[in-house]
Protein backbone atom coordinates (compact mmCIF):
# COMPACT_ATOMS: atom_id res chain seq x y z
CA UNK A 1 0.00 0.00 0.00
CA UNK A 2 2.76 2.44 1.01
CA UNK A 3 4.71 1.55 -2.09
CA UNK A 4 1.76 2.31 -4.25
CA UNK A 5 1.31 5.71 -2.63
CA UNK A 6 4.96 6.63 -3.24
CA UNK A 7 4.78 5.46 -6.79
CA UNK A 8 1.73 7.65 -7.26
CA UNK A 9 3.56 10.69 -5.86
CA UNK A 10 6.62 10.19 -8.07
CA UNK A 11 4.52 9.81 -11.17
CA UNK A 12 2.60 12.91 -10.20
CA UNK A 13 5.71 15.09 -9.99
CA UNK A 14 7.06 13.82 -13.33
CA UNK A 15 3.70 14.49 -14.95
CA UNK A 16 3.47 17.95 -13.42
CA UNK A 17 6.98 18.84 -14.51
CA UNK A 18 6.49 17.79 -18.11
CA UNK A 19 3.15 19.63 -18.21
CA UNK A 20 5.01 22.76 -17.14
CA UNK A 21 7.51 22.29 -19.97
CA UNK A 22 4.73 21.95 -22.53
CA UNK A 23 2.96 24.96 -21.06
CA UNK A 24 6.13 27.08 -21.29
CA UNK A 25 7.42 26.13 -24.74
CA UNK A 26 4.50 24.76 -26.75
CA UNK A 27 1.59 27.00 -25.74
CA UNK A 28 2.93 30.49 -26.62
CA UNK A 29 3.75 29.89 -30.33
CA UNK A 30 0.56 27.89 -30.92
CA UNK A 31 -1.48 30.48 -29.01
CA UNK A 32 -0.04 33.28 -31.10
CA UNK A 33 -1.19 31.58 -34.29
CA UNK A 34 -4.60 30.93 -32.82
CA UNK A 35 -5.26 34.46 -31.61
CA UNK A 36 -4.65 36.28 -34.91
CA UNK A 37 -7.67 38.54 -35.34
CA UNK A 38 -8.01 38.05 -39.13
CA UNK A 39 -7.94 34.28 -38.79
CA UNK A 40 -10.58 34.49 -36.07
CA UNK A 41 -12.80 36.72 -38.18
CA UNK A 42 -12.49 34.37 -41.19
CA UNK A 43 -13.32 31.38 -39.02
CA UNK A 44 -16.37 33.12 -37.45
CA UNK A 45 -17.53 34.16 -40.92
CA UNK A 46 -17.45 30.58 -42.22
CA UNK A 47 -19.11 29.11 -39.14
CA UNK A 48 -21.75 31.73 -38.44
CA UNK A 49 -22.60 33.12 -41.87
CA UNK A 50 -21.97 30.52 -44.58
CA UNK A 51 -22.32 27.16 -42.82
CA UNK A 52 -26.15 27.21 -42.57
CA UNK A 53 -26.35 28.02 -46.30
CA UNK A 54 -23.86 25.32 -47.24
CA UNK A 55 -25.69 22.72 -45.15
CA UNK A 56 -29.16 23.63 -46.42
CA UNK A 57 -27.93 23.90 -50.00
CA UNK A 58 -26.16 20.55 -50.00
CA UNK A 59 -29.41 18.82 -48.99
CA UNK A 60 -30.91 19.94 -52.32
CA UNK A 61 -27.81 18.56 -54.00
CA UNK A 62 -28.53 15.11 -52.51
CA UNK A 63 -32.18 15.30 -53.55
CA UNK A 64 -31.11 16.16 -57.09
CA UNK A 65 -28.71 13.18 -57.12
CA UNK A 66 -30.40 10.59 -54.84
CA UNK A 67 -28.42 7.45 -53.90
CA UNK A 68 -31.25 5.14 -55.07
CA UNK A 69 -31.14 4.48 -58.87
CA UNK A 70 -34.93 4.17 -59.24
CA UNK A 71 -35.47 7.52 -57.54
CA UNK A 72 -32.70 9.04 -59.61
CA UNK A 73 -34.43 8.03 -62.83
CA UNK A 74 -37.72 9.43 -61.54
CA UNK A 75 -36.22 12.80 -60.54
CA UNK A 76 -34.03 13.18 -63.63
CA UNK A 77 -36.41 15.54 -65.50
CA UNK A 78 -36.61 17.85 -62.47
CA UNK A 79 -32.89 17.82 -61.66
CA UNK A 80 -32.16 21.32 -62.96
CA UNK A 81 -35.11 22.76 -61.07
CA UNK A 82 -34.08 21.07 -57.80
CA UNK A 83 -30.56 22.46 -58.20
CA UNK A 84 -31.76 26.09 -58.22
CA UNK A 85 -31.92 26.49 -54.41
CA UNK A 86 -28.52 24.76 -54.21
CA UNK A 87 -26.97 27.15 -56.72
CA UNK A 88 -28.35 30.23 -54.97
CA UNK A 89 -27.27 29.20 -51.43
CA UNK A 90 -24.23 26.88 -51.44
CA UNK A 91 -23.41 28.26 -54.90
CA UNK A 92 -23.22 31.86 -53.67
CA UNK A 93 -21.24 31.18 -50.50
CA UNK A 94 -18.45 33.61 -51.35
CA UNK A 95 -20.90 36.51 -51.59
CA UNK A 96 -22.17 35.85 -48.08
CA UNK A 97 -18.68 35.10 -46.83
CA UNK A 98 -17.63 38.62 -47.87
CA UNK A 99 -20.38 40.00 -45.61
CA UNK A 100 -19.44 37.60 -42.81
CA UNK A 101 -15.72 38.42 -42.83
CA UNK A 102 -16.39 42.17 -42.75
CA UNK A 103 -19.05 41.79 -40.06
CA UNK A 104 -16.99 39.52 -37.79
CA UNK A 105 -13.85 41.61 -38.17
CA UNK A 106 -15.83 44.74 -37.29
CA UNK A 107 -17.00 43.01 -34.11
CA UNK A 108 -13.42 42.25 -33.13
CA UNK A 109 -12.52 45.87 -33.95
CA UNK A 110 -15.48 47.07 -31.87
CA UNK A 111 -17.04 49.13 -34.63
CA UNK A 112 -20.50 49.06 -36.25
CA UNK A 113 -20.54 45.83 -38.35
CA UNK A 114 -23.49 45.98 -40.82
CA UNK A 115 -22.24 48.79 -43.06
CA UNK A 116 -18.80 47.25 -43.67
CA UNK A 117 -20.66 43.96 -44.32
CA UNK A 118 -22.87 45.48 -47.03
CA UNK A 119 -19.90 47.34 -48.52
CA UNK A 120 -17.91 44.08 -48.65
CA UNK A 121 -20.70 42.39 -50.64
CA UNK A 122 -20.84 45.28 -53.11
CA UNK A 123 -17.04 45.30 -53.52
CA UNK A 124 -17.06 41.54 -53.97
CA UNK A 125 -19.70 41.77 -56.73
CA UNK A 126 -17.82 44.55 -58.49
CA UNK A 127 -14.60 42.51 -58.27
CA UNK A 128 -16.30 39.38 -59.66
CA UNK A 129 -18.06 40.80 -62.73
CA UNK A 130 -16.20 41.65 -65.93
CA UNK A 131 -16.63 45.34 -66.79
CA UNK A 132 -19.05 45.26 -69.74
CA UNK A 133 -22.78 45.40 -70.53
CA UNK A 134 -24.10 43.27 -67.68
CA UNK A 135 -27.62 43.18 -69.14
CA UNK A 136 -26.47 40.77 -71.86
CA UNK A 137 -24.06 38.73 -69.76
CA UNK A 138 -25.15 35.14 -69.02
CA UNK A 139 -25.32 34.52 -65.26
CA UNK A 140 -23.60 31.15 -65.67
CA UNK A 141 -20.41 32.87 -66.71
CA UNK A 142 -19.86 34.44 -63.28
CA UNK A 143 -21.80 32.04 -61.03
CA UNK A 144 -18.84 29.74 -60.13
CA UNK A 145 -16.84 32.76 -59.00
CA UNK A 146 -19.57 33.87 -56.59
CA UNK A 147 -19.24 30.50 -54.84
CA UNK A 148 -16.44 28.01 -54.33
CA UNK A 149 -14.01 29.77 -56.65
CA UNK A 150 -14.44 33.23 -55.18
CA UNK A 151 -13.67 32.59 -51.51
CA UNK A 152 -10.26 34.25 -51.56
CA UNK A 153 -11.62 37.44 -53.16
CA UNK A 154 -14.48 37.43 -50.64
CA UNK A 155 -12.06 37.27 -47.70
CA UNK A 156 -9.91 40.08 -49.13
CA UNK A 157 -12.91 42.34 -49.78
CA UNK A 158 -14.30 41.65 -46.32
CA UNK A 159 -11.06 42.67 -44.63
CA UNK A 160 -10.64 45.67 -46.93
CA UNK A 161 -14.17 46.99 -46.26
CA UNK A 162 -13.89 46.86 -42.48
CA UNK A 163 -10.34 48.11 -42.16
CA UNK A 164 -10.88 51.10 -44.45
CA UNK A 165 -14.28 52.04 -43.09
CA UNK A 166 -13.14 51.87 -39.50
CA UNK A 167 -10.29 54.28 -40.21
CA UNK A 168 -12.69 56.77 -41.78
CA UNK A 169 -15.08 56.69 -38.84
CA UNK A 170 -14.45 59.65 -36.61
CA UNK A 171 -11.59 60.88 -38.81
CA UNK A 172 -11.65 64.33 -40.41
CA UNK A 173 -12.08 62.89 -43.93
CA UNK A 174 -15.71 62.15 -43.40
CA UNK A 175 -18.94 64.06 -43.86
CA UNK A 176 -19.94 65.67 -40.57
CA UNK A 177 -23.52 66.24 -39.52
CA UNK A 178 -24.84 68.75 -37.01
CA UNK A 179 -25.44 67.29 -33.52
CA UNK A 180 -29.23 67.45 -33.94
CA UNK A 181 -29.14 64.80 -36.73
CA UNK A 182 -30.05 61.30 -35.46
CA UNK A 183 -27.06 58.93 -35.14
CA UNK A 184 -28.39 56.50 -37.79
CA UNK A 185 -28.44 59.24 -40.41
CA UNK A 186 -24.97 60.37 -39.36
CA UNK A 187 -23.67 56.83 -39.74
CA UNK A 188 -25.07 56.54 -43.26
CA UNK A 189 -23.24 59.70 -44.30
CA UNK A 190 -20.07 58.58 -42.52
CA UNK A 191 -20.06 55.50 -44.71
CA UNK A 192 -20.40 57.51 -47.91
CA UNK A 193 -16.78 58.61 -48.37
CA UNK A 194 -15.12 55.20 -47.78
CA UNK A 195 -17.81 53.48 -49.90
CA UNK A 196 -17.21 55.79 -52.86
CA UNK A 197 -13.46 55.51 -52.48
CA UNK A 198 -13.35 51.70 -52.31
CA UNK A 199 -15.96 51.30 -55.03
CA UNK A 200 -13.87 53.45 -57.37
CA UNK A 201 -10.64 51.63 -56.59
CA UNK A 202 -12.02 48.10 -56.95
CA UNK A 203 -13.99 48.98 -60.11
CA UNK A 204 -10.92 50.62 -61.72
CA UNK A 205 -8.83 47.58 -60.89
CA UNK A 206 -11.49 45.26 -62.27
CA UNK A 207 -11.81 47.37 -65.44
CA UNK A 208 -8.07 47.12 -65.99
CA UNK A 209 -8.14 43.35 -65.42
CA UNK A 210 -11.14 42.76 -67.70
CA UNK A 211 -9.44 44.48 -70.64
CA UNK A 212 -7.42 41.27 -70.76
CA UNK A 213 -8.91 38.05 -72.03
CA UNK A 214 -8.23 34.35 -71.79
CA UNK A 215 -9.41 31.28 -73.67
CA UNK A 216 -11.35 28.86 -71.47
CA UNK A 217 -11.56 25.09 -71.79
CA UNK A 218 -14.64 25.56 -73.99
CA UNK A 219 -12.48 27.44 -76.57
CA UNK A 220 -14.45 30.62 -76.01
CA UNK A 221 -12.61 33.85 -75.25
CA UNK A 222 -13.64 35.32 -71.89
CA UNK A 223 -12.79 38.54 -70.14
CA UNK A 224 -10.48 38.09 -67.17
CA UNK A 225 -11.78 39.00 -63.68
CA UNK A 226 -10.12 39.32 -60.30
CA UNK A 227 -11.41 35.93 -59.00
CA UNK A 228 -10.26 34.16 -62.19
CA UNK A 229 -6.85 35.80 -61.87
CA UNK A 230 -6.54 34.88 -58.19
CA UNK A 231 -7.79 31.35 -58.80
CA UNK A 232 -4.92 30.70 -61.23
CA UNK A 233 -2.59 31.70 -58.39
CA UNK A 234 -4.64 29.93 -55.71
CA UNK A 235 -5.43 26.72 -57.63
CA UNK A 236 -1.99 25.10 -57.16
CA UNK A 237 -2.40 25.67 -53.41
CA UNK A 238 -5.84 24.03 -53.50
CA UNK A 239 -4.27 21.05 -55.23
CA UNK A 240 -1.43 20.92 -52.70
CA UNK A 241 -3.87 21.20 -49.81
CA UNK A 242 -5.89 18.28 -51.17
CA UNK A 243 -3.09 15.78 -50.54
CA UNK A 244 -2.07 13.28 -47.89
CA UNK A 245 0.91 15.30 -46.53
CA UNK A 246 -1.35 18.35 -46.14
CA UNK A 247 -4.04 16.29 -44.39
CA UNK A 248 -1.37 14.90 -42.08
CA UNK A 249 -0.01 18.35 -41.29
CA UNK A 250 -3.50 19.68 -40.58
CA UNK A 251 -4.51 16.84 -38.24
CA UNK A 252 -1.19 17.04 -36.36
CA UNK A 253 -1.57 20.80 -35.91
CA UNK A 254 -5.18 20.37 -34.76
CA UNK A 255 -4.27 17.77 -32.18
CA UNK A 256 -1.10 19.54 -30.97
CA UNK A 257 -3.25 22.59 -30.30
CA UNK A 258 -5.85 20.51 -28.46
CA UNK A 259 -3.06 18.83 -26.48
CA UNK A 260 -2.27 22.17 -24.91
CA UNK A 261 -5.97 22.95 -24.46
CA UNK A 262 -6.52 25.22 -27.45
CA UNK A 263 -9.44 24.57 -29.78
CA UNK A 264 -7.46 23.00 -32.64
CA UNK A 265 -10.25 22.48 -35.15
CA UNK A 266 -11.16 26.10 -34.67
CA UNK A 267 -7.67 27.38 -35.47
CA UNK A 268 -6.99 25.08 -38.43
CA UNK A 269 -10.43 25.84 -39.87
CA UNK A 270 -9.47 29.52 -40.02
CA UNK A 271 -6.46 28.71 -42.22
CA UNK A 272 -7.76 25.76 -44.22
CA UNK A 273 -11.47 26.58 -44.69
CA UNK A 274 -11.02 28.48 -47.99
CA UNK A 275 -9.29 25.37 -49.40
CA UNK A 276 -11.73 22.87 -47.88
CA UNK A 277 -14.75 24.67 -49.26
CA UNK A 278 -13.22 25.23 -52.68
CA UNK A 279 -12.59 21.48 -52.85
CA UNK A 280 -16.04 20.63 -51.44
CA UNK A 281 -17.73 22.90 -54.00
CA UNK A 282 -15.74 21.15 -56.74
CA UNK A 283 -16.90 17.77 -55.35
CA UNK A 284 -20.50 18.96 -55.51
CA UNK A 285 -20.06 19.42 -59.26
CA UNK A 286 -18.35 16.10 -59.90
CA UNK A 287 -14.81 16.55 -58.53
CA UNK A 288 -12.95 13.97 -56.42
CA UNK A 289 -11.23 16.02 -53.71
CA UNK A 290 -10.52 14.24 -50.42
CA UNK A 291 -9.35 16.81 -47.88
CA UNK A 292 -12.48 18.82 -47.03
CA UNK A 293 -14.27 19.92 -43.88
CA UNK A 294 -16.28 16.66 -43.53
CA UNK A 295 -13.06 14.66 -44.00
CA UNK A 296 -12.03 15.94 -40.56
CA UNK A 297 -15.27 16.75 -38.73
CA UNK A 298 -17.28 13.73 -39.85
CA UNK A 299 -14.64 11.07 -40.50
CA UNK A 300 -11.76 11.87 -38.09
CA UNK A 301 -13.21 13.58 -35.00
CA UNK A 302 -15.49 10.70 -34.03
CA UNK A 303 -17.10 11.61 -30.71
CA UNK A 304 -15.12 14.85 -30.72
CA UNK A 305 -11.59 15.97 -31.64
CA UNK A 306 -9.15 13.11 -31.09
CA UNK A 307 -11.70 10.35 -31.86
CA UNK A 308 -12.39 9.94 -28.14
CA UNK A 309 -15.65 7.95 -28.38
CA UNK A 310 -14.06 4.72 -27.04
CA UNK A 311 -12.54 6.53 -24.06
CA UNK A 312 -16.04 7.45 -22.85
CA UNK A 313 -17.01 3.78 -22.80
CA UNK A 314 -13.78 2.86 -20.99
CA UNK A 315 -14.37 5.60 -18.43
CA UNK A 316 -17.89 4.47 -17.55
CA UNK A 317 -16.41 1.21 -16.22
CA UNK A 318 -13.18 2.65 -14.82
CA UNK A 319 -11.71 1.84 -11.40
CA UNK A 320 -10.88 5.52 -10.92
CA UNK A 321 -13.56 7.73 -9.34
CA UNK A 322 -12.44 10.74 -11.36
CA UNK A 323 -12.70 8.88 -14.68
CA UNK A 324 -16.09 7.38 -13.79
CA UNK A 325 -17.41 10.84 -12.86
CA UNK A 326 -16.12 12.32 -16.13
CA UNK A 327 -17.44 9.35 -18.11
CA UNK A 328 -21.00 9.91 -16.89
CA UNK A 329 -20.90 13.57 -17.89
CA UNK A 330 -19.13 12.82 -21.19
CA UNK A 331 -21.57 10.21 -22.53
CA UNK A 332 -24.38 12.53 -23.65
CA UNK A 333 -22.16 15.12 -25.37
CA UNK A 334 -20.10 12.34 -27.05
CA UNK A 335 -23.17 11.23 -29.01
CA UNK A 336 -23.11 14.70 -30.58
CA UNK A 337 -19.32 14.72 -31.05
CA UNK A 338 -18.70 17.15 -28.23
CA UNK A 339 -15.80 16.06 -26.04
CA UNK A 340 -14.72 18.95 -23.84
CA UNK A 341 -15.61 16.78 -20.80
CA UNK A 342 -13.08 14.20 -22.04
CA UNK A 343 -10.45 16.76 -23.06
CA UNK A 344 -10.46 18.67 -19.79
CA UNK A 345 -11.74 15.92 -17.50
CA UNK A 346 -9.50 12.93 -18.19
CA UNK A 347 -7.65 15.27 -18.89
CA UNK A 348 -6.05 14.88 -22.31
CA UNK A 349 -4.72 18.43 -22.16
CA UNK A 350 -1.10 18.74 -20.96
CA UNK A 351 -1.15 15.11 -19.89
CA UNK A 352 2.09 13.45 -21.02
CA UNK A 353 0.54 9.96 -21.00
CA UNK A 354 -2.59 10.78 -22.98
CA UNK A 355 -1.10 13.42 -25.29
CA UNK A 356 0.71 10.80 -27.36
CA UNK A 357 -2.37 8.82 -28.47
CA UNK A 358 -4.40 12.04 -28.58
CA UNK A 359 -2.22 13.13 -31.52
CA UNK A 360 -1.32 9.70 -32.87
CA UNK A 361 -4.77 8.05 -33.05
CA UNK A 362 -6.31 10.74 -35.29
CA UNK A 363 -3.19 10.56 -37.48
CA UNK A 364 -3.76 6.83 -38.01
CA UNK A 365 -7.47 7.38 -38.69
CA UNK A 366 -6.77 10.15 -41.21
CA UNK A 367 -4.28 7.85 -42.96
CA UNK A 368 -6.81 5.01 -43.21
CA UNK A 369 -9.57 7.33 -44.42
CA UNK A 370 -7.34 9.02 -47.00
CA UNK A 371 -6.42 5.65 -48.47
CA UNK A 372 -10.05 4.48 -48.50
CA UNK A 373 -11.25 7.63 -50.30
CA UNK A 374 -8.29 7.65 -52.68
CA UNK A 375 -9.07 4.04 -53.68
CA UNK A 376 -12.75 4.99 -54.30
CA UNK A 377 -13.88 2.37 -51.75
CA UNK A 378 -16.25 4.87 -50.15
CA UNK A 379 -17.99 7.74 -51.98
CA UNK A 380 -16.21 11.06 -51.49
CA UNK A 381 -17.84 13.46 -48.94
CA UNK A 382 -20.03 15.94 -50.80
CA UNK A 383 -22.55 16.99 -48.17
CA UNK A 384 -21.86 19.45 -45.41
CA UNK A 385 -23.50 18.81 -42.03
CA UNK A 386 -23.27 20.27 -38.54
CA UNK A 387 -20.50 18.36 -36.74
CA UNK A 388 -23.03 17.40 -34.07
CA UNK A 389 -24.75 14.78 -36.26
CA UNK A 390 -24.10 11.42 -34.52
CA UNK A 391 -21.53 8.95 -35.85
CA UNK A 392 -23.18 6.41 -38.17
CA UNK A 393 -25.79 8.82 -39.48
CA UNK A 394 -23.25 11.46 -40.44
CA UNK A 395 -21.07 9.07 -42.47
CA UNK A 396 -24.08 8.02 -44.54
CA UNK A 397 -25.24 11.60 -45.16
CA UNK A 398 -21.80 13.09 -45.85
CA UNK A 399 -21.15 10.69 -48.71
CA UNK A 400 -24.49 11.51 -50.33
CA UNK A 401 -26.03 8.26 -49.05
CA UNK A 402 -23.24 5.66 -49.17
CA UNK A 403 -23.71 3.14 -46.32
CA UNK A 404 -19.99 2.34 -46.57
CA UNK A 405 -19.45 5.84 -45.13
CA UNK A 406 -21.03 4.68 -41.85
CA UNK A 407 -19.09 1.43 -41.90
CA UNK A 408 -15.83 3.37 -42.29
CA UNK A 409 -16.73 5.47 -39.23
CA UNK A 410 -17.32 2.39 -37.09
CA UNK A 411 -14.13 0.78 -38.34
CA UNK A 412 -12.21 3.96 -37.35
CA UNK A 413 -13.77 3.86 -33.88
CA UNK A 414 -12.63 0.26 -33.47
CA UNK A 415 -9.09 1.28 -34.43
CA UNK A 416 -9.24 4.16 -31.96
CA UNK A 417 -10.49 1.83 -29.19
CA UNK A 418 -7.59 -0.53 -29.77
CA UNK A 419 -4.88 2.15 -29.85
CA UNK A 420 -6.14 4.16 -26.87
CA UNK A 421 -6.51 1.13 -24.57
CA UNK A 422 -2.92 0.71 -23.22
CA UNK A 423 -2.56 4.47 -22.63
CA UNK A 424 -5.93 4.66 -20.92
CA UNK A 425 -4.96 1.78 -18.60
CA UNK A 426 -1.63 3.44 -17.76
CA UNK A 427 -3.33 6.72 -16.90
CA UNK A 428 -6.04 4.94 -14.93
CA UNK A 429 -3.31 3.28 -12.78
CA UNK A 430 -1.82 6.71 -12.01
CA UNK A 431 -5.21 8.09 -11.01
CA UNK A 432 -6.14 5.09 -8.88
CA UNK A 433 -2.80 5.37 -7.06
CA UNK A 434 -3.49 9.06 -6.46
CA UNK A 435 -7.00 8.40 -5.26
CA UNK A 436 -5.68 5.81 -2.79
CA UNK A 437 -3.16 8.38 -1.52
CA UNK A 438 -5.77 11.11 -1.16
CA UNK A 439 -9.33 9.79 -1.34
CA UNK A 440 -11.70 11.91 -3.38
CA UNK A 441 -15.01 12.71 -1.82
CA UNK A 442 -17.87 12.27 -4.21
CA UNK A 443 -21.35 13.40 -3.29
CA UNK A 444 -24.31 13.21 -5.60
CA UNK A 445 -22.10 12.64 -8.61
CA UNK A 446 -20.17 15.83 -7.96
CA UNK A 447 -16.48 15.77 -7.22
CA UNK A 448 -15.92 17.96 -4.18
CA UNK A 449 -12.19 17.67 -3.83
CA UNK A 450 -9.69 16.51 -6.40
CA UNK A 451 -5.97 16.41 -6.03
Amino acid sequence: MNNRVNEGKNQTTIIERSSELFERYLVPPLGLLASNVYLQAIRDAFIIFTLPLIIAGSLFLVIANPPIPALQAFLQPYQEAILVPFQLSFGLMALFLAFGVAYSLAQYRRTEPVQPGILAMVLFLVASMPVRNLATMPLGEVLPYLGGQGLLVAILMGILATEVMRRFRGSRFTIRMPKSVPPNVTRAFEALVPTLLLLTIVWSLEWFISIHTYVAADHITHQLTLPILLMTVFQPLVVVQDSYPAALLEIILMMLLWSVGIHGMNVVTAIAAPFWFTTLAANATGGHGIVTEPFFHIFAHLGGSGATWPLVIYMLRSKSTQLRTVGKVALGPAIFNINEPVTFGVPMVLNPIMMLPFVFVPVVIVTINYAVFALHWVHIPIVMQPFTVPVGVSGFLATGGDIKGSILQFFDIAVSALLYYPFFKAWERVLVAREVAAPTRVEGGRVLATV
Partner: protein, 108 residues
Protein backbone atom coordinates in the same frame (compact mmCIF):
# COMPACT_ATOMS: atom_id res chain seq x y z
CA UNK B 1 -30.12 40.12 -11.88
CA UNK B 2 -26.54 39.21 -12.71
CA UNK B 3 -25.65 38.82 -16.39
CA UNK B 4 -22.71 36.50 -17.12
CA UNK B 5 -20.90 36.27 -20.46
CA UNK B 6 -18.96 33.08 -21.16
CA UNK B 7 -16.48 33.52 -24.00
CA UNK B 8 -15.92 30.24 -25.80
CA UNK B 9 -15.33 28.81 -29.23
CA UNK B 10 -18.48 27.61 -30.94
CA UNK B 11 -20.80 27.64 -27.94
CA UNK B 12 -21.67 23.96 -28.36
CA UNK B 13 -20.21 22.50 -25.20
CA UNK B 14 -20.62 25.70 -23.23
CA UNK B 15 -24.37 25.56 -23.75
CA UNK B 16 -24.33 22.41 -21.58
CA UNK B 17 -22.52 24.29 -18.84
CA UNK B 18 -24.99 27.18 -19.14
CA UNK B 19 -27.90 24.77 -18.52
CA UNK B 20 -26.17 23.39 -15.45
CA UNK B 21 -25.36 26.89 -14.14
CA UNK B 22 -28.97 28.04 -14.52
CA UNK B 23 -30.26 24.96 -12.68
CA UNK B 24 -27.76 25.49 -9.87
CA UNK B 25 -28.66 29.19 -9.62
CA UNK B 26 -32.37 28.42 -9.52
CA UNK B 27 -31.88 25.91 -6.69
CA UNK B 28 -30.11 28.52 -4.58
CA UNK B 29 -32.55 31.30 -5.65
CA UNK B 30 -29.73 33.30 -7.20
CA UNK B 31 -30.89 35.52 -10.06
CA UNK B 32 -28.66 34.85 -13.03
CA UNK B 33 -28.65 35.03 -16.82
CA UNK B 34 -25.85 33.44 -18.79
CA UNK B 35 -24.86 33.95 -22.42
CA UNK B 36 -22.21 31.90 -24.26
CA UNK B 37 -20.61 33.65 -27.23
CA UNK B 38 -17.54 33.75 -29.45
CA UNK B 39 -14.67 36.18 -28.89
CA UNK B 40 -15.95 38.45 -31.66
CA UNK B 41 -19.47 38.66 -30.28
CA UNK B 42 -18.00 39.20 -26.84
CA UNK B 43 -16.09 42.27 -28.04
CA UNK B 44 -19.36 43.72 -29.32
CA UNK B 45 -21.34 42.92 -26.17
CA UNK B 46 -18.96 43.30 -23.23
CA UNK B 47 -20.67 46.46 -21.95
CA UNK B 48 -23.96 44.62 -21.39
CA UNK B 49 -22.68 42.17 -18.77
CA UNK B 50 -21.73 42.15 -15.11
CA UNK B 51 -19.00 39.53 -15.27
CA UNK B 52 -16.95 37.71 -17.92
CA UNK B 53 -15.85 34.07 -17.76
CA UNK B 54 -13.42 32.41 -20.18
CA UNK B 55 -13.84 28.79 -21.27
CA UNK B 56 -10.60 26.78 -20.99
CA UNK B 57 -10.30 25.91 -24.70
CA UNK B 58 -9.71 29.52 -25.69
CA UNK B 59 -7.22 30.45 -23.02
CA UNK B 60 -4.84 31.61 -25.77
CA UNK B 61 -7.18 34.61 -26.11
CA UNK B 62 -7.11 35.25 -22.37
CA UNK B 63 -4.90 38.32 -22.46
CA UNK B 64 -6.95 40.24 -25.04
CA UNK B 65 -10.23 39.23 -23.36
CA UNK B 66 -8.94 40.38 -19.98
CA UNK B 67 -7.67 43.69 -21.35
CA UNK B 68 -11.01 44.47 -22.93
CA UNK B 69 -12.89 43.54 -19.74
CA UNK B 70 -10.55 45.68 -17.68
CA UNK B 71 -11.04 48.66 -20.02
CA UNK B 72 -14.77 48.67 -19.23
CA UNK B 73 -14.15 47.60 -15.60
CA UNK B 74 -15.81 44.20 -15.65
CA UNK B 75 -14.50 41.36 -13.49
CA UNK B 76 -13.09 38.47 -15.52
CA UNK B 77 -11.82 34.94 -14.75
CA UNK B 78 -11.00 31.60 -16.34
CA UNK B 79 -13.33 28.68 -15.68
CA UNK B 80 -11.56 25.86 -13.87
CA UNK B 81 -10.94 23.15 -16.57
CA UNK B 82 -12.18 20.33 -14.37
CA UNK B 83 -15.38 22.20 -13.49
CA UNK B 84 -15.85 22.78 -17.21
CA UNK B 85 -15.21 19.13 -17.98
CA UNK B 86 -17.71 17.84 -15.47
CA UNK B 87 -20.20 20.60 -16.42
CA UNK B 88 -20.27 21.56 -12.75
CA UNK B 89 -22.61 24.56 -12.92
CA UNK B 90 -22.76 24.95 -9.16
CA UNK B 91 -19.01 25.45 -8.84
CA UNK B 92 -19.03 28.05 -11.61
CA UNK B 93 -21.96 29.91 -10.04
CA UNK B 94 -20.01 29.92 -6.76
CA UNK B 95 -17.03 31.31 -8.68
CA UNK B 96 -19.26 34.10 -10.02
CA UNK B 97 -20.57 34.94 -6.54
CA UNK B 98 -17.08 34.91 -5.14
CA UNK B 99 -15.72 37.18 -7.90
CA UNK B 100 -18.53 39.68 -7.48
CA UNK B 101 -18.12 39.70 -3.69
CA UNK B 102 -14.36 40.36 -3.82
CA UNK B 103 -13.65 44.08 -4.00
CA UNK B 104 -11.34 44.66 -6.95
CA UNK B 105 -8.11 46.46 -6.15
CA UNK B 106 -7.46 48.66 -9.18
CA UNK B 107 -7.53 47.06 -12.61
CA UNK B 108 -6.36 43.61 -13.60
Amino acid sequence: MIHVLIVCSWGMSTSLLVESMLTAAQESKYELTVEALSAGEYAAKVETCDIVLIAPQIRHLRKSIEQLAASVEKPVAMIEPFHYATMNGQAVVEQVQHLLATPRKGKM
